[in-house]
């Protein structure tokens, strides 16, 4: 009967425990360190592949471009392609047109959205939050639905072939940016405004002198978002800018691509694309926090 002594059982359990603990540790290591890493590294490789290929094609000479099967990296990098691309495509004219629109968009967004957001956050008025729901609802208004009507309205105003259809609406606020700004302003303590009111400051003084300086980080986020929005816009310039002198990079490069016969100048298109995405990438790397901050504000339910 007493073949197994209590101490044996103890010993056995201890050994089993440590083995199980070891196994648990390994499993936890795998689930918390190894698997996520494998997934993320693989996905990052996939996500970088387009950019690798863009650079790779941008640097291929015409001789290497037509080789089949394609070389996996440029064997004789043609750095002159960038220069050639800016000369073949009127790149700097397109870039200048795009930059003008981008700067005016940023100015419009930075002026209008804080003013509107102030009215929705720092002033109490009956029905305010219900009206704000209407602001949010406009986020879900698909822009393409309105393009026919907008085109007709703008052409009656004589705005076609000018940048006005692209920049004027920005000066009247954008639902998402108003939302972002409002969330930020709601976080500023109410006492700040009340104290200033007691000192006799009027609402405009409070907005300009007290609240706006507090909002500089949010203004930065809006400036970046607005700038990216304008730089990246495709449908707007496609609809309203019909004169080649007014083209932006988005449509200038698209029309360049469309007029090319199939086999040539993919390298130049990729070189030009590199030049287009480069400022955005630099901006992104410099202000990553702002981008990610803007996203998480958007995720607040």
């Amino acid at each position: 009967m007493a073949v197994i002594s209590p101490s044996d059982i103890d010993e056995e359990m201890r050994r089993g425990d440590s083995r199980r603990a070891q196994r648990d540790r390994t499993r936890r290591m795998i689930s918390s360190k190894v698997t996520p890493r494998v997934i993320l590294v693989l996905m990052c490789l996939v996500f970088m592949l387009p950019f690798y290929w863009m650079l790779s094609l941008a640097l291929k000479g015409v001789d290497e471009l037509v080789i089949y099967p394609p070389t996996l990296y440029p064997h004789t990098p043609e750095w002159g392609n960038f220069q050639l691309a800016t000369e073949t495509i009127p790149f700097w004219t397109l870039a200048r047109n795009t930059t003008v629109i981008t700067l005016i968009t940023i100015i419009g967004a930075v002026i209008s959205n804080p003013i509107i957001a102030y009215g929705f956050s720092r002033i109490e008025w009956p029905g305010r939050d219900k009206v704000f729901l209407l602001v949010l609802a406009t986020v879900f208004m698909p822009y393409p639905v309105l393009i026919v009507a907008l085109f007709d309205i703008y052409s009656q105003l004589g705005w076609i072939n000018t940048i006005l259809p692209l920049v004027v609406p920005i000066f009247f606020g954008n639902a998402f940016w108003i939302f972002l700004m409002r969330q930020f302003m709601l976080q500023i303590p109410k006492d700040l405004s009340d104290a200033a009111r007691l000192d006799g400051a009027n609402e405009f003084k409070i907005f300009w002198g007290i609240i706006l300086p507090q909002c500089i980080p949010a203004l930065g986020v809006i400036a970046i978002f607005a700038g990216i929005h304008a730089w990246n816009d495709f449908l707007g310039p496609l609809l309203y800018l019909l004169n080649p002198d007014t083209y932006t990079l988005a449509i200038g490069l698209t029309f360049f691509q469309q007029t090319q016969s199939y086999d040539v100048q993919f390298n130049l298109l990729m070189a030009a694309s590199t030049l287009v995405v480069l400022p955005v990438i630099v901006l992104f790397l410099l202000f990553q926090k702002a981008f990610i901050g803007g996203i998480s504000v958007g995720s607040i339910k």
């Binding site: 863009m54 602001v135 026919v148």
Partner: protein
């Protein structure tokens, strides 16, 4: 009698006051309203001029025949009747639903996978986050050029890699069966942005729930499907509605890469709208009707998702 009226009197006045305040804003409220209207004035003007008036004008145009010149001619429901007889419209609708139905769910799964993988304390997470998020901020037109090069049958690296491992890959954007799949693939490069929204949601799940579940003996599978997913449903709902709305508007990629082809397999609703209004000699009335249809479709699908959400979305703990 006197005692009763004494008691009754204040209540009536209070009710009256409450009623009064509801109908007529008090002096202070009027002042506040006036102040606020100065601040939100620009938005009100923008709403009227750039959203509400164009909506009304779109609806009006949808009942007319209009080429951009002269006056629109009222033709009643003819544009809407054309939906039932125009095979190109049905094709565009099918393509749009096919694209949205494929791109959005795949996007949710990929974004969730990325968010779970990033919800760890690996020291190099910021690097992954930067790489995964980057395509979301880049211009879609540039990504379209890049994908045209990437998936090119002769010059593309994707097919070259696939050939090297023994596949015979399709000519993506040259094959009606695969062109839409190619555009679905482009959409997945926006997953980083959604993943960050999901990650914020994951971080908001109280840790003690997992601890309690582990004490009760729940494995990782159970913890994921009984805690993580239910608590993430509000965020998933938000992404679904936004994703569907964006998916139904797909345009740029198809315009640049395939111009709606091959064999109209990537002619989506917005592209068909665009072609009718600006390419086929100004069918602006019919294009407006497509716009109204797109709006109704977006609204209806969002409504259905939202209505059914009460069955699967849990708001109790977030």
């Amino acid at each position: 009698m006197t005692a009763e009226s004494d008691v009754a009197l204040p209540t009536t006045t209070a009710a009256e006051l409450r009623l009064k305040r509801r109908w007529y804003p008090s002096k202070i409220e009027r002042k506040q309203l006036l102040l606020a209207s100065i601040f939100i004035g620009p938005w009100v003007i923008g709403l009227l001029g750039f959203i509400l008036y164009p909506i009304a004008y779109t609806i009006y145009l949808s009942f007319t025949r209009y080429g951009g010149l002269g006056d629109p001619v009222w033709i009643g429901l003819a544009n809407y009747r054309r939906f039932f007889t125009d095979p190109n419209f049905e094709n565009a609708l099918f393509n749009t639903l096919y694209y949205t139905g494929l791109a959005v769910p795949i996007g949710v799964v990929i974004a969730m996978m990325l968010a779970l993988a990033m919800n760890t304390d690996l020291p190099e997470i910021p690097i992954y986050r930067a790489i995964l998020f980057l395509p979301s901020v880049l211009p879609l037109f540039a990504l379209s050029f890049i994908f045209k090069a990437l998936l090119d049958p002769n010059k593309g690296i994707v097919n070259e890699l696939l050939r090297n491992v023994g596949f015979s890959p399709p000519n993506w954007f040259g094959n009606p069966d695969f062109a839409k799949i190619g555009i679905v693939m482009i959409a997945q490069f926006g997953a980083g942005q959604v993943a960050l929204v999901f990650l914020a949601g994951l971080k908001g799940i109280p840790q003690h729930l997992y601890e309690a579940a582990m004490i009760d003996g729940a494995g990782p599978f159970n913890r994921f499907f009984k805690i993580t997913i239910p608590l993430m449903t509000p965020v998933i709902l938000y992404d679904l509605i936004l994703g569907i709305s964006m998916g139904l508007q797909v345009f740029t990629q198809a315009y640049i890469i395939t111009d709606g082809g091959p064999a109209k397999s990537t002619t989506f609703l917005v592209l068909y709208l665009y072609e009718n209004a600006f390419k086929f000699g100004g069918q602006m009335g019919f294009a407006s009707a497509i716009g109204v249809f797109l709006f109704a479709l977006t609204f209806l699908i969002a409504l259905v998702v939202f209505k059914t959400s009460s069955k699967w979305v849990h708001y109790d703990l977030t």
